[in-house]
Symmetry: C2
């Protein structure tokens, strides 16, 4: 029963490290100590009981047709404008490709645009996540991801939680990422790949966190990834699912689900709006395995406000 595992609201205040990681000379597998789904209450539409079970089992959920064609078209148009606006729109919140000036990521997406802000509060995303986590939620991170055609680079396997715990001080596994696809995503053009069921093991990684690790890890993660032996074991146990779908598809995944993506030589770029929701009871403490906290655009730190979730159409 999920609720049996629920920690007290103030677990973060204890500073106890439930998930030690970044050990200098060994990797270990630890059992997950937190539920994946934090409630057994019946969900609000459009989430179904079957969706909840699927999310609990796999650590992710792919939902289509949540948004109307007009809403999807408006979001796609806006993402193009934001990307073309580039540094002018988002300044220091922009990250570029390793080998070029192409825009790869715009952070703090919810602060740079009204429509994207509305999307981040939409009941069809934030409402579902809040239900699954059985708590109010806030935005730990939000961004627009853009993976260009021809030269899109791979992103290697990792658990987001491992980084958020080690480098941001997120105490427990009570956060969910939401990726709303703004282009068609297929295995062929480097769609997100997830290992279903991998959310139930915490791979405590080998390797110490360099200072200002995020400056390179956003482009290519070197520390905080499982070994090839562990990844091969996980893939053999769980398989690998391509999260494919047209623009408008929503992918929800648990903070500890192992994921990655291949490079993309096709002419077709990939793009998505990405929101990480954390339970307000799981607010950040000091980093568990890094010398200093990462900057605010990567991890909201200062007394986060719960999201004011809104129903109704975006456009």
């Amino acid at each position: 029963m999920p609720l049996e595992f629920a920690p007290q609201r103030d677990v973060s205040a204890t500073q106890e490290d439930a998930y030690p990681t970044r050990h200098p000379d060994r990797e270990t597998w630890l059992e997950r100590k937190d539920p994946v789904v934090w409630t057994d209450k019946m969900p609000p539409a459009p989430l179904t009981r079957s969706d909840m079970d699927s999310f609990e089992r796999d650590g992710f959920l792919v939902m289509r047709d949540l948004f109307s064609p007009a809403e999807v078209a408006a979001l796609v148009d806006r993402s193009r404008e934001l990307r073309e606006g580039g540094r002018a729109v988002a300044g220091d919140d922009v990250v570029t490709e390793p080998d070029s000036d192409a825009v790869r990521t715009i952070f703090r997406l919810d602060e740079h645009d009204g429509l994207m802000n509305a999307l981040s509060r939409d009941a069809r995303i934030a409402g579902i996540v809040s239900h699954l986590l059985a708590d109010d939620v806030y935005l730990h991170q939000s961004r627009l991801n853009y993976k260009p055609g021809f030269t899109g680079k791979e992103f290697y396997w990792h658990s987001d939680f491992e980084t958020w715990h080690a480098e941001d001080g997120m105490p427990r596994m009570r956060a969910i990422s939401a990726s709303l696809l703004l282009t068609e995503n297929r295995a062929q053009n480097g769609a997100l790949m997830l290992m279903p069921g991998s959310q139930n093991v915490f791979v405590s990684c080998q390797g110490e966190t360099p200072d200002a690790n995020h400056e390179s890890s956003l482009k290519r993660q070197e520390v905080g990834t499982p070994s090839q032996v562990s990844l091969a074991d996980l893939a053999a146990q769980h398989g690998i699912t391509d999260a494919e779908g047209p623009a408008g598809t929503l992918i929800l995944f648990d903070c500890n689900t192992i994921h990655g993506s291949n490079g993309n030589i096709t002419p077709t770029p990939r793009s998505n709006a990405f929101f990480v929701y954390n339970a307000v009871s799981n607010a950040l403490t000091e980093p568990f395995a890094a010398s200093g906290a990462r900057p605010d655009f990567l991890a909201t730190r200062n007394t986060p406000e719960p999201i004011d979730i809104r129903g109704g159409a975006l456009v």
Copy 2:
């Protein structure tokens, strides 16, 4: 009617350049001057009339279940032995990954192993190809390709013929490549991608051929690839097909079909035995756009013997 286009047997002796390429400052699209299927005779089994039509239309054909499970198992075992033997088996015929010593390719595969030699002469491959080209054939190139898991690199879009014409002196488009899969190939682990129909245009590439270009182009091709504008046009016109299938699947593709493959971060490697068959009437002349010919392991040059095609099972 394909046969109307058939050049005289001795076209190569004329040294006329039917497909000029590597122009220093422009790219152009030229119409294909050769048939894709050189005969209208009914094919020998296992090839069907429908397969022939499909090959002519798409420039490739994916065939399954040509080989028995015992044959596939024997070939897979042998490929593993050859790869593990590495340099000891194949010496200078081995190419490694850009960033490591992992074996990527063993050239002159037919010369390094009896079973692979028998495979190269098998009626189910060489016989089909000889029928499609309406000529005796010889091995222009043969190799074992190995793309490791986790770190497999992408291979960018190109027409093989463009390189073989420019750098090897192959006069006309009368050659077919055969890739026999020795692992499961999926879009997820970097399967071959082809643009169906692209065989009908010759993209005359911009850029001059550096000396000893093959020393780097085998790892990462920089010259002799279409521009991004051309590739986007071709993909929009023709789409991109993932050539997926289990071990034992045969992929035949025309020498001018545009193809490439993505990188592979999954734990699952990809491997195939690769044979390029050229019509004996299309034997190499001097390179059309390079200062010197490439070495023999890349392009058989000295009075090639027609393949002695053999029926019957491999094991």
